[in-house]
């Protein structure tokens, strides 16, 4: 008994309550998304997604208990091993996986399906934490940076090979973790600027259909003006010239990246962001229907189980990637508000937990958890309301699916476990 009280003594109940609030809200919405008034099915019906999700919730609770009863030191010591195992699974899935919707990311054994890339985020976070947990590791040292790059790019490359660009994009959020751990902000700023220039260039060439000559001419004229202004100071002069050339380079790359690297469906997903009416029956359809469903909810929604757009299949994937539509439609702005507040609170709470860690390992891991949740939450919502291209990533704890729910549970509760032992310092 004494050990038991020890286990729960230092857990962060705020995080746990937020977690269960999200999971239960999600469960009700999965039921609502598939509810058919004429069929009179119960939320517990195992033929329904809601019934199956309940099993996954049960499995998650068991997972949580296992995590709590395990020795927290295992987390640190198994970090690289787990990373290695998942990398092997990511390789194996390329050969033995089943292709679903264009990506080979699922193992299928009987009726049981499992997506290793969901766990890649977790083990990458562990490996990164382990790597940076070494007090010697410094992010301004080239060899250490290369190590970090290796940890990140291995899973990303394998996931990209599966054809799952959406999950691969999640790893980009680790740059914020690295920034917190001392990475120079320059790559971050350059990345954001590059993305803005890239999108602007797409907008100008693909939507406005401006001739590239005009764009280059404008950039070069601005560049020359900047160079003339800065001609006195040598370093500024060189920077001006370099930036001008870099922007030209990005613009030049747009054609290549957009037309040759991106697949046609990815191209249209970007284009419909700028103009949703571009292809209302095709690529614009999902986003349009999703926005209609959410928008039709109004202030207080149509009521639980009263949504029509989601239930009558106007919104595709309404149990998984587009689960937020059900919330928006049935619970209106109030529901959206609650979801956003709950998620923001959870993310900020996890950041808080990370900051109070004594070990760098735990802090890095905590930031990884917060940022993964942040990326999934913000990008998933953005894509349902037409602020971001549809990249097919789930809303944590809400979207239907065992792999996703258990992976996020493990991710979060590993942090809760580490946090409950924050007073104990591991000796290396």
């Amino acid at each position: 008994m004494r050990e038991r009280t020890d286990i729960f003594a230092n857990v962060d109940w705020i995080t746990i309550i937020l977690y269960f609030a999200l999971v239960l809200f999600g469960w009700f919405n999965i039921y609502a998304a598939v509810y058919d008034a004429s069929a009179n099915q119960s939320i517990f019906d195992l033929n329904l997604n809601s019934g199956k999700q309940l099993i996954w919730i049960g499995a998650s609770v068991i997972t949580i208990i296992i995590i709590f009863f395990a020795d927290f030191r295992l987390i640190d010591s198994l970090a690289y091993i787990a990373f290695g195992v998942v990398l092997l699974l990511l390789i194996a899935v390329l050969f033995f996986g089943r292709e679903v919707a264009g990506s080979t990311s699922w193992f299928e054994i009987g009726s049981f399906r499992f997506q290793p890339s969901e766990f890649a985020k977790f083990v990458t976070a562990l490996a990164l934490a382990k790597y940076l947990g070494d007090p010697q590791a410094k992010l301004d040292r080239i060899p250490d940076l290369l190590g970090v790059c290796a940890i990140l790019f291995l899973p990303v490359a394998l996931i990209l090979l599966q054809g799952d660009a959406g999950t691969a994009m999640v790893f980009s959020i680790f740059i914020l973790v690295l920034f917190r751990e001392g990475l120079s902000p320059i790559p971050l700023i350059l990345g954001v600027l590059g993305a803005i220039v890239f999108l602007l260039a797409i907008y100008l060439t693909q939507i406005v259909e401006l001739s590239p000559t005009w764009i280059y001419t404008t950039i070069i004229i601005i560049g020359i003006i900047a160079t003339i202004i800065n001609r006195k100071k040598r370093s500024k002069l060189i920077t001006s010239i370099l930036i001008t050339l870099a922007i030209c380079g990005v613009v030049r790359s747009v054609d290549f990246v957009f037309e040759d690297v991106l697949k046609p469906h990815q191209q249209t997903r970007i284009l419909v962001l700028f103009n949703p009416d571009l292809d209302p029956q095709g690529a614009g359809y999902n986003v349009n229907q999703s926005k209609i469903a959410i928008g039709s909810g109004g202030f207080d929604g149509k009521g639980f189980l009263e949504g029509t757009q989601t239930k009558y299949d106007y919104v595709p994937e309404q149990s998984t990637d587009f689960i937020f539509c059900t919330i928006g439609e049935e619970h209106g702005y109030i529901g959206s508000f609650i979801v956003i507040v709950l998620f923001s609170a959870l993310i900020l709470r996890v950041i808080q937990l990370a900051e109070r860690q004594k070990m760098r390992f735990s802090r890095v891991y905590g930031y990884c958890v917060a940022m993964i949740l942040f990326f999934h939450f913000s990008i998933n919502l953005s894509m349902t309301i037409g602020l971001f291209p549809v990249i097919g990533i789930p809303l944590p704890f809400f979207s239907y699916g065992g792999s996703s729910l258990i992976a996020f549970t493990v991710l979060l509760f590993t942090m809760v476990k580490l946090d409950s032992h924050r007073m104990q310092v591991l000796s290396h």
Partner: protein
């Protein structure tokens, strides 16, 4: 180390949250378009068609009803058929046809039902019904078609068809939608508003595949269809059938009216067509066949053939006007001077009754001259204009030269000349009685439709008034909705006491043995009054005309018969009129020889 960066990251999280909340605020609260779009998506209007009203004859016999037909619908995605041969033989189509129908359906939609086989008859459907259920993906939608149990009276009943773009454009009430059925001619068109009933509308929720998932807002905005009102017509279908039988193979019209009420007992247009041809899926094919028939079966002669010269039946009107004007009396005699105008039969110096009986042309030449040239004005020519004007006013009160107002579409006016017409032809003041004298015997610038002739017969039968002839007796089981004009008496300008001599003369036409021209209309125990006409026709043989009513006292039926190119009115027309009266008043025909004559007779000799 780098602790301050925590704040930056927290700010990013909060900032993104605010962006999302702002965007959602706009989407969910400010922007209305999604709410409309959501309704557009998932709410669909379903029209429920009411049962069209039935049509009965005056004795309660049904003459138009709705017959169930079955549309075979297919949902291509649900079809699972290994061997189509059996299915094809069931529907009696060949394999190629099956493939065509399927690909058409697939072209429309894989998941929504479309018509595979339209308007299968009750009998056909009964034959396949049992085995039909074995085939998945095929469904049956019952519909109704108009059906005419006895195949006559096509032009009076009319037909229904899909609304045309033209009708939709003219429809100011915006009631009709493309694909609706509407009465296009005859009674179906005239009483469309009563017969059609009221469409019901229901709003249902549909899913993305178009499958109905339930009522919209629990059916609060739904309306139930109201069936159309049944109509009882004035038609006696036995008489109608008989009239059609008599007119078989002839061109012309028979119209029978109940004089006291203006109710049309029968209205025959010959040749006609089987109204059942213009229902159902063969509509267009049959319509173009009928429409291109050179005998013009779609031409509704009783109300549209208004160019017929009335011929001798017009002499009664001349007599009545002359009596009213006081220019003759029943005792007035006129020498049958055949040097001015030809005549027929052995007579020489008749009074009015004899003149009508013998159809004496010189008598009415003189009579008309007295009407026209009354010496009101000094100038002989100008006097004719005044006289003619007065004469025309009289004619109008007999319903000539204007639409009577029967409840059928496209009634025509007939022709009554005007003073200005002659002024235009001959010049003002340059014409007089001698210019227009052919009017005196019902020739010249006169045109009368068979309906107007029957109405004339009814006027004489009623001794001076008529009720606008009509076909509707009850609407929805009551007379309340029957227009007022079908209940109101219209008096002629000739006072009732003037009619006696004309009635007596018409009695004599029929009941003077073979010396009367109407002898073929004689029935032993019924006093039939009639008048023959033989209208000259520049294009061929004369038209045979007869009007009659019976019995003489308290008449029950007034008839006009017009048979084109059948020679003298005494032959075909008088026979048919007599038979119609006999059939109506006695129920059966005792004078078989007349019937045979009317059916088989060669009237031209």
């Amino acid at each position: 180390m780098f602790k301050e960066r925590k704040v930056i990251i927290q700010s990013v999280v909060i900032f993104v949250g605010i962006i999302l909340l702002t965007r959602l605020f706009h989407l969910q609260i400010i922007d209305e378009t999604s709410r409309l779009a959501a309704d557009n998506n998932s709410r669909r209007k379903f029209v429920e068609y009411p049962y069209r009203g039935l049509i009965y004859d005056r004795n309660g016999e049904i003459i138009v009803y709705n017959k169930p037909v079955y549309d075979i619908m297919v949902v291509p995605s649900e079809v699972d058929m290994e061997d189509t041969t059996k299915f094809c033989s069931l529907l009696d189509i060949d394999k190629q046809n099956f493939i065509e129908r399927m690909s058409e359906a697939k072209h429309y939609s894989y998941v929504k039902p479309s018509v595979f086989y339209s308007q299968m008859s009750n009998e056909e459907f009964a034959r396949i019904q049992d085995r039909f259920s074995e085939y998945s993906g095929f469904y049956v939608t019952p519909k109704t078609n108009r059906y005419y149990p006895y195949s006559g009276m096509a032009n009076a009943l009319g037909y229904i068809g899909e609304v045309t773009p033209g009708i939709l454009k003219r429809d100011t009430t915006s009631y009709y939608k493309s694909g609706d059925l509407i009465g296009i001619s005859g009674l179906e068109s005239k009483y469309e508003d009563a017969l059609r009933g009221k469409r019901g509308v229901s709003y249902k929720m549909i899913n993305v595949h178009g499958v109905v998932k339930g009522k919209y807002k629990e059916g609060k905005s739904d309306t139930i269809p109201e069936p159309g009102l049944n109509i009882t017509t004035t038609i006696d279908s036995e008489l109608q059938k008989y009239g059609e039988k008599l007119m078989d193979g002839k061109i012309g019209s028979v119209v029978a009216i109940e004089p006291a009420t203006g109710e049309i007992l029968s209205i025959v247009s010959a040749p006609s067509y089987n109204p059942n041809l213009l229902t159902g899926r063969e509509f267009s094919k049959n319509y173009s066949l009928i429409n291109s028939d050179t005998t013009k079966p779609l031409y509704n002669r009783p109300i549209q053939a208004d160019q017929y010269p009335p011929g001798s039946i017009f002499k009664m009107i001349q007599a009545l006007i002359a009596l009213e004007e006081g220019v003759i009396s029943p005792q007035t005699r006129v020498v049958c001077n055949r040097s001015i105008i030809n005549c027929h039969g052995p007579h020489s110096y008749e009074d009015l009754r004899g003149a009508i009986k013998h159809s004496c042309n010189p008598y009415f030449y003189e009579t008309f001259k007295r009407i026209i040239q009354q010496g009101e004005v000094n100038s002989f020519n100008a006097d004719a204009a005044v006289g003619l004007e007065g004469w025309i006013e009289h004619l109008k009160t007999f319903g000539l030269g204007q639409r009577l107002g029967i409840d059928l579409p496209n009634e025509r006016t007939g022709v009554v000349p005007t003073v200005s017409l002659y002024n235009r032809i001959y010049g003002e003041g340059s014409w007089n009685f001698f210019t227009v004298y052919s009017l005196s015997i019902g020739q010249g610038e006169l045109g009368v439709s068979p309906l107007q002739m029957a109405n004339l017969s009814a006027i004489i039968a009623n001794r001076g008034f008529y009720i606008t002839p009509h076909l509707v007796k009850e609407i929805g089981g009551s007379r309340e909705l029957v227009p007022e004009k079908y209940k109101k008496k219209n008096y002629t300008s000739v006072s009732p006491d003037k009619y006696g001599v004309v009635v007596d003369a018409m009695d004599a036409v029929v009941n003077s043995g073979w010396s009367g021209t109407g002898a073929r209309a004689h029935i032993d125990d019924i006093v039939v009054c009639g008048k023959t006409g033989t209208a000259q026709n520049p294009h061929g043989e004369d038209h045979s005309v007869f009007i009659a009513f019976a019995p003489k006292d308290n008449p029950k039926i007034a008839v006009s018969v017009y048979v084109e190119n059948a020679g003298q009115g005494a032959r075909a027309a008088a026979s048919i009129a007599g038979l119609m009266i006999e059939k109506y008043l006695k129920g059966e025909i005792e004078r078989k020889h007349i019937e045979d004559y009317a059916l088989e007779g060669d009237f031209i000799y």
